[in-house]
Symmetry: C2
Amino acid sequence: MQDLSGLARKEIMSPTLTDIQQARERIKPYAHRTPVFTNESLNKHVNTQVYLKCENLQKVGAFKFRGACNAVFSLNDEEAARGVCTHSSGNHAQALALAARMRGIPAYIVMPSNAPQVKKDAVRDYDGQITFCAPTLEAREATLAKVVEETGSVFVHPHNDERVIAGQGTAALELLEDVPDLDVIITPVGGGGLLSGTAIAAYEIKKGIHLVAGEPEMADDAFRSLKSGTIMPSVNPKTIADGLLTSLGTLTFPIIRQYVEQIVTVSEEGIIASMKFIWERAKIVIEPSAAVAIGVLWEGKIDLAGLKVGVILSGGNVDLDNLPWR
Amino acid sequence: MQDLSGLARKEIMSPTLTDIQQARERIKPYAHRTPVFTNESLNKHVNTQVYLKCENLQKVGAFKFRGACNAVFSLNDEEAARGVCTHSSGNHAQALALAARMRGIPAYIVMPSNAPQVKKDAVRDYDGQITFCAPTLEAREATLAKVVEETGSVFVHPHNDERVIAGQGTAALELLEDVPDLDVIITPVGGGGLLSGTAIAAYEIKKGIHLVAGEPEMADDAFRSLKSGTIMPSVNPKTIADGLLTSLGTLTFPIIRQYVEQIVTVSEEGIIASMKFIWERAKIVIEPSAAVAIGVLWEGKIDLAGLKVGVILSGGNVDLDNLPWR
């Protein structure tokens, strides 16, 4: 029986560097090897050497495609034939729909009925089949269970899934190939899929590298969880970084506890200023969640002066008609 | 005596492919080799294979750096010591200031007193020395003449200068190295520096390649000039593509007449829609002038179905507080 709660199943193991390396080979034909950009204005402004891993230029505009793609192409033919499913109204939904389409299998997406039209359209553009539910946790889980029962499809959790975590770790693998002498890697943290995959890849490749995560002050569950040593879920978080509203999972939390040095919270103002700066100076579109990682440097709460810092820009999906500096 | 009118001097010759190749070697230590991006959504939307040469990711955020850099580093030490000067309130001013700073010489920029503050700041950021003038053609030329007299600096015209044209042609050189089997190259056209440099490079490398330019309907002097066979200046043009307000020069016009197949005009709506699409889908920030080249495909006035089309995205300098879809 599938676990649909997002809680760890007994048989789930934290992925290893080998899993991440295999994921990289598996997704290679489908995912972009995204470029790493540098920007002198940014370096000057934050007094470090920053290397931007541009997952905003990834398929579907976010790193989420790596994990979804690895999960979909990890399935054997029999499993795959029944399709995949998830609950998400964000980048993971689009990513899973596209990966499934690439494999020629259906993707069933459970989405709250009040999700923005643009997100519904995006999933449908990738041939995802949407089932709407009421915007509550209970309705979401009940609807997902019903979809699984009716279709036999395989649940791919947005972050609490070892195949997904391994996939997300491939970005750091590429980044460290391109810039082997990094001192620090910064990612944003929401559910922790990107952060835990990055942590495993980076630390196993380069012991002693510093792993830092940026989190919105207004959704600081990971910060509090790491401090208290137990998962402290967010309660009704409100931040412009809408990709970081979810809390850590039972699978991602222990990995993050093991490897991640520090979680730095970033103010809403810092997120917006960082986002605008990157658009203006680096000429790339990043979403607020990606700007949170820049915000760590921007707000200068930790001293990284003179270091070589890799930043994983998680995505670039924004509503251009609703920009935060309007 | 220097020619300050932007009219052709007797000794000025149209640059050759060799000049462009030399320019490329000359600017290599200073300019970025910009990436070439593809985007499936765009390809699908316009029914061609599009290759985006990202000059928005060039130094100062525009191809203009190539021409300015080539001009500055073409000077002998004696000429260089006196500095360079120009009249511009746009990307060329910033480009010349940065190139001059890289050579360690002064750049004198004549700018109308009513230029936006953000443009004045940008030039000063690159240590350009601004002399303001009244916002008329006469004042501009008189002020420039005075600057030259006082400083002995070398005038580098924004487009009507063979060193500048050769520099701008280096983008096409790189593009054709990366994608040798292009059928078409599209650039925007304002003064014609980018278009004429591109035309020489592309046609001399690959006879039979089609050269097309996009121009705002509201500033269609090049379209009318090519049609009439004589330079027809714009009279008070008003377009969102503020980099394309200038008219063709005496040096660029004959080159364009010789090589360029067609100038296609693009509506303001087409420019804005193209710009927004590239931001949303390709996740890169382009300025309206760059969007004009996409607009040629977007509005479908010429049939390029199934062809391989290179588009030079000329720049990415925009005021994020004044976006056209607000």
